[in-house]
Amino acid sequence: MTQSVVIQVGQCGNQIGCCFWDLALREHAAVNQKAIYDEAISSFFRNVDTRVVGDGGSISKGKIRSLKARAVLIDMEEGVVNEILQGPLRDVFDSKQLITDISGSGNNWAVGHKVFGSLYQEQILEKLRKSAEHCDCLQCFFVIHSMGGGTGSGLGTFLLKVLEDEFPEVYRFVTSVYPSGEDDVITSPYNSMLAMKELNEHADCVLPIDNQSLFDIISKIDLMVNSGKLGTAIKPKSLVTSSAGAFKKRQEKPFDAMNNIVANLLLNLTSSARFEGSLNMDLNEISMNLVPFPQLHYLVSSLTPLYTLADVNIPSRRLDQMFSDAFSKDHQLIQADPKHSLYLACALMVRGNVQISDLRRNIERLKPSLRFVSWNQEGWKTSLCSVPPVGHSHSLLALANNTCVKPTFIELRERFTRLYKKRAHLHHYLQIEGMEESCFTEAMSSLSALIQEYNQLDATKSMPAEDLPRLRVAV
């Protein structure tokens, strides 16, 4: 069994990370009733005897003493990390795995990347090496950050290069929160654009998320819960957004609920690697199957169902609804419509009491309405994990490598161009050592090249598939 390390960077990254650890603990608690430290838990947690000072405290088997998250928390201002360390999860984090500063990055990618990057490079390396040493077989780094700010965006992407150089064999999965239309950070287009270049070059797999989609999903759930349209009671704990342990409810935007969705995404992504099932899917299989060309590694994700009804026996029609929902644009975690764009590849990760015949029936049913690229007409990767998420009897995570991610990038480019043309706020960046205009123009061409790749693929959508003539052999 392999281990993964989560690196949460910046305010957004740490808040999401916090939700993730809370959910992970609850999930393992529900599955592992005997409190034995087993391989499933060890994928994200260490078992430590806290009475032992120093490094000798790790225990590899037996009863659980004290679980420590395999996490590195990085933030250039102290507020968020301090709150975590004072909240209910404080014992889960190893105090030695934190990197904080006081001044913050001022929503400036250059400060995060160049200034704090060089300042903290050694410390970062040291913490990473430490967490890797604690792993028997480290498979994957999960980086959680936002694109629009300074720390998450700048320092978070600086990290990627460090990870690539230091741990070339370990996968780098990045969960990136993209800025929405009504984002309040003026410089977010610059930050996002500069971060995109790093993601293009140094990430193995990126799961883009945006706040607007998360917010829409929350609103939809609220509507359904409150309207009582369906008649039967909805189990409150079964909401994909529910969180008993996260800290502080915010009033303006339901960030906790939104962060929980992302936390669920990460848990479901790794469920088949941690728990048993009749068709397992490990993390290295995600990259193998869903990334046909190294640059095209952006995966649009969707989670269903968003809640479950009190009735435990799910008739197959409801199960089928779960599959249909996964492809609707309302369930995607970014503003995207996969049904009307081109699929390069699609993965369906099912948890719970679902069998291969259910999976196949639904693939057959949905296939005709989806468009796949000509060389991957049956581009489905599937997995069945027997352990459902907490509070649900079954769930589905769909990951799509689909050209529907293009509009997000095009919009990003447009917002960037509007600002850049006027050279607004540019001096804040250029005054940082190591930053030049070429950084901006290179980032722009990197993004344009990516968009062009997607354009070329889209162009093949309407063309009939032209099969290359097969090899002919003499008989």
Partner: protein, 408 residues
């Protein structure tokens, strides 16, 4: 003579368990419908082939379990131990921490050489437990990374080290519609390598077995367990002991050799398939009676129409290629002992054109993907180059052409 089974990857191990379970259940089935002495001879023969014995009398499967990540092997070992009736050897498994990632190149070029010694040692230990070795049965899938890539590597090794023993690879052909996106690449690489190093490829298609579960056995929510059990039933009906010849009442001692001799007349034609009659749900079994004529007629129908589900006419020369006489092409193996609660049952193992179409489809899809170069970087990363792909395509196109030309 004994058969050593090597189970590779998630699929191989899940199926391997069901196979041993089916073999054991059948040989200890109280409804043998024959004399006690007959039953005992049958049991002894089955045991010699597939199980060795421990001090406390619990039979141990003659098997080596290999997987690159631990979950499935752990499950398989505990399922067998829990049954209380038979189990796997305590030290018969080889496991690593991180899987092959559905990457044939990783299974073949990285895991293979790295773990060659350990795996071959395990196999050697199992071989030493046999009084005489008939050969190897290697159970693997084509679509993934371990079963396919490491399976191809292990088979090659077996050919080098045990050149006098026979090797039959039990291969699972994946569903046409994706279990794994790169399954076509993995499949052509597997098939082309196995064609060079294996003696026979016994093929089971997931789609076909799925249809059996749905239409014949009326299972509503079909799980992989159901599929694997049907598969195990088919394999059991082929490998359980039968008399060594017409008029003989001794059980044959060289099942693999006899199978190969009858079914693989020429090394260009190695792909075998199994059809099995009857197959029904437990409930219907109680209400059915059979006649041999009816069963065999059904079986012949399945052969001709290429239906998977469902005589003397087998001696019809029109069924066979011109360079084989029906008397050489067709042979019957019998036993009085009933198989697995069926009063009468028959299995047909054939080497025929039935796999040409599926093979052609896989090669076609893989070729299209290859033309666009999609996913190739994942393979070249671990040493499988475009030439290797081209070699595989060439070999398989040759096989397809050969099978197609059988009609002339």
């Amino acid at each position: 003579m004994s058969i050593v089974t090597v189970q590779l990857g998630q699929c191989g191990n899940q199926i391997g368990f069901e196979v041993f379970d089916a073999l054991f259940s059948d040989s200890h089935c109280p409804q043998g419908l024959c004399s006690k002495r007959e039953n005992e001879a049958y049991q002894a023969s089955c045991k010699e082939r597939f199980f060795s014995e421990e001090e406390n009398g619990v039979p141990i499967a003659r098997a080596v379990l290999v997987d690159m990540e631990p979950k499935v092997i752990n499950q398989t070992l505990s399922k067998a131990a829990h049954s209380g009736r038979w189990k796997y050897g305590q030290h018969s498994c080889f496991c690593q921490k991180q899987g092959s990632g559905n990457n044939w190149a990783y299974g073949y070029s990285v895991h293979g050489p790295r773990h060659e010694e350990s795996i071959m040692n395990l196999i050697q230990k199992e071989v030493e437990k046999c009084d005489s070795l008939n050969g190897f049965l290697i159970i693997m899938s084509m679509a993934g990374g371990t079963g396919s890539g490491l399976g191809a590597f292990v088979t090659q090794n077996l050919q080098d080290r045990y050149s006098n023993s026979l090797k039959m690879n039990q291969i699972i052909w994946p569903y046409g519609t994706g279990e794994v996106i790169v399954q076509n690449y993995n499949s052509i690489l597997t098939l082309s390598h196995l064609y060079r190093s294996s003696d026979a490829l016994l093929i089971h298609e997931n789609d076909a077995v799925h249809k059996i579960c749905a239409k014949l056995m009326n299972i509503k929510q079909i799980s992989f367990r159901d599929i694997n059990q049907v598969l195990a039933h088919q394999l059991g009906s082929v490998f359980q002991p039968t008399y060594s010849g017409e008029g003989s009442f001794h059980y044959r001692r060289n099942p693999l050799g006899d199978l190969m001799e009858n079914l693989v007349p020429h090394p260009e034609f190695k792909m075998l398939g199994v059809r099995n009659i009857p197959q029904m749900s437990e409930n219907s079994l109680a209400y059915s009676t059979f006649t041999w004529a009816g069963l065999l007629k059904h079986l012949r129908q399945m052969l001709i129409s290429n239906a998977k589900m469902e005589e003397g006419a087998f001696k019809d020369p029109a069924l066979y290629t011109s360079w084989l006489e029906p008397v050489h092409a067709f042979s019957v193996w019998k036993t009085q002992r009933a198989f697995s609660k069926y009063e009468k049952s028959a299995a047909l193992v054939s080497n025929s054109q039935f796999l040409v179409k599926p093979l052609d489809m896989i090669v076609g899809k893989a070729w299209n993907m290859f033309a666009s170069k999609a996913y190739i970087h994942q393979y070249t990363k671990f040493g499988i180059e475009e030439e290797d792909f081209l070699d595989s395509f060439t070999l398989l196109e040759q096989v397809i052409a050969s099978y197609c030309n059988l009609g002339f």
